[in-house]
């Protein structure tokens, strides 16, 4: 009997086909932006008249892109650092200790993920105005104000990923360390920390990327004349689309892709998302 071309085989092909189509649909807009960045002419018309690298240089003549990139980087790094400092101890308690209010605390810490970005932006906007009225400290529009808000989106990602990495960690390993004479701090540093390092690395990357790419919340919080990179790109696109903004996007895609590849060396991304 020969291997037949039956319905089940066709079904498998159809399944793979639809899956490939979906993946293509996800990637198509990125591919088009990358393509546009290399066009010779300025107007995105097809077929392209030729190819050029000059738009990558043109990006640096746009103050909003350069300034936006630097501000996004600065805010992302600061928010990730503060967010991890708050989230890692909290994750340890949530994953390892039994205390009253554990479930509501966990829900609260993950809440910034589910409150819509626009609503989060508006409410933090009015909060910062109120606190400025109350204290006289100009929080709104400052880098501090932006970082403070971005910490809120770093925390849930860090909590999620660090608690997940602790879930697979056998607590008897810590008991073994203590049995062998390690004190609580040494146990944490030599046994617990290495075990949750993948979670921390992943949490740092996700937190940073989410902060770096945040648009809806930041829209409300940036000060006059200062924008983050996503806002700069959005405002440019509202005006026009051309290879310059595509080149700026390609640089962002490359940066994030590189961050993912580096992170992937420490922790398999397919296991944390």
């Amino acid at each position: 009997m020969r291997r037949p071309l039956d319905a089940s085989r066709l079904g498998r092909w159809a399944l793979d086909g639809v899956a490939a189509l979906s993946l293509g649909f996800i990637l198509l807009p990125l591919a088009l932006v990358i393509w546009l960045a290399f066009f010779r002419q300025e107007i995105p018309s097809f077929p392209p008249e030729g190819y050029s690298l000059r738009w990558f240089g043109a990006v640096f003549n746009h103050r909003s892109f350069v300034g936006g990139f630097l501000l996004s980087l600065q805010v992302g790094v600061a928010a990730t650092a503060v967010g991890l400092a708050l989230a890692v101890p909290a994750s340890l308690a949530i994953a390892r200790r039994r205390f009253r209010g554990r479930a509501p605390v966990n829900t609260l810490l993950l809440m910034p993920l589910v409150v819509p970005g626009v609503v989060l932006g508006t409410s933090i906007y009015v909060f910062q105005i109120e606190s400025e009225i109350a204290t006289g400290w100009p929080l709104l529009g400052s880098t501090y104000g932006l970082v403070a808000a971005h910490v809120l989106i770093v925390i849930p990602w860090a909590v999620r990923l660090v608690t997940a990495s602790l879930a697979g960690f056998d607590p008897t390993v810590e008991e073994a360390a203590k049995n062998l004479g390690a004190g609580p701090w040494t146990t944490f540093r030599r046994v617990t920390l290495p075990a949750i390092r993948p979670g921390i690395v992943a949490g740092a990357m996700f937190g940073f990327v989410m902060s770096f790419g945040n648009l809806e919340m930041s829209l409300f919080l940036v000060g006059a004349g200062r924008t983050t990179l996503p806002i700069a790109i959005l405002q440019y696109l509202e005006w026009k689309i051309d290879p310059t903004v595509a080149a700026a996007s390609v640089m962002q895609i490359a940066l994030i892709g590189a961050a993912m590849l580096v992170t992937d060396r420490y922790v398999k991304i397919s296991q944390v998302v």
Binding site: F25, L27, L108, V119, V126, L215, L237, I269
Partner: protein, 291 residues
């Protein structure tokens, strides 16, 4: 002695937990709950042109929203777009999620990274990609007109179709990743058991895979629905200035019109509408399937 030590140890730990979890909890509580409370209070204030915001306790902002056909039209359009994109995401996402979940080779990590990368790149950049495709002289029209399929460029840019395509592409990775993690938790041998008992793939999927994946389907649907309801960059860029959805409406009322009470009310209506619709979906699904 022993019991005293045990009690001490426990109270020590309890204090430790509070010390560990306290700072983050207080930060998020102040950073989210207090602002939401203030925003809600604002939404009960009055907006007097020229005098900005006046303290009051009134529902007139909410009444204004629901009695003006323009605003209810925006809400209705937002809900419609959110439903459409969520349904398409589910249909397109399940096969990809299944294939990813059941792939065991080294290719899997690469595939997952390809799904995650666009997620990280930001909505504006991805909308830009569709702008390249949909413009009058964009890829789609240029190739259709080049082959003589159509005499005139199609009007896709600044239509609901463009927005639905854009939001679907933005939300699809979330759906795929949510479903993939749930499907991965379903024991492969359960599928094989169904096959060995005479179920063909379609009946296996309907009777075994879908019911077991239901928590993931529900989670993915809710997530993509919330994201679609609150989309900002995609409707602004692909829908144009005249295609209003709730997210951009909040921004324009708040920042451009400086009408904080009304902007706050719209933000709350958006949040409540999202919550009600997701809760309803939750109930419907739970009634049909035992989860």
């Amino acid at each position: 002695m022993r019991s005293v030590a045990a009690v001490e140890g426990r109270s020590n730990q309890r204090f430790g937990a509070a010390g560990l979890v306290g700072p983050a909890t207080i930060y998020v509580a102040i950073g989210i709950l207090v602002p939401l409370a203030i925003l809600f209070r604002y939404s009960l204030n009055q907006f007097v042109p020229g005098r900005f915001m006046v303290d009051a306790l009134t529902l007139e902002n909410y009444v204004k929203f629901f009695t003006d056909a323009y605003y209810t039209g925006v809400l209705w359009r937002t809900v419609r777009v959110a439903f459409a994109t969520t349904a398409i995401c589910l249909l397109m996402g399940f096969p990809l999620a299944y294939v990813l979940a059941r792939t065991r080779t080294r290719r899997k990590n690469l595939l997952i990274m390809l799904v995650v990368l666009p997620l990280f790149v930001g909505n504006a950049v991805r909308a830009a990609g569709w702008m390249v495709a949909f413009g009058n002289r964009g890829l789609l029209n240029a190739s259709l007109m080049g082959t003589g399929a159509i005499p005139q460029p199609l009007e896709i840019m600044f239509t609901e179709t463009a927005v639905i395509i854009g939001i679907t592409a933005v939300n699809l990775p979330f759906m795929v990743l949510t479903l993939q993690s749930v499907i991965e938790g379903i024991d492969r041998s359960v599928e094989e058991a169904a096959f060995s008992l005479g179920a063909n793939p379609w009946r296996m999927a309907r009777r075994v895979l879908f019911p077991l994946a239901m928590p993931g389907i529900l989670a993915g649907t809710i997530l993509t629905f919330i994201l679609a309801m609150n989309a900002y960059a995609t409707p602004v860029l692909l829908g144009g200035p005249r295609f209003q959805m709730m997210g951009p409406l909040v921004y324009s009322q708040f920042v451009q019109q400086n009408n904080w009470p009304f902007g706050g009310a719209i933000a709350f209506i958006l949040m409540i509408a999202t919550l009600i619709l997701t809760a309803a979906a939750n109930l419907m699904v739970q009634r049909r399937y035992r989860i």
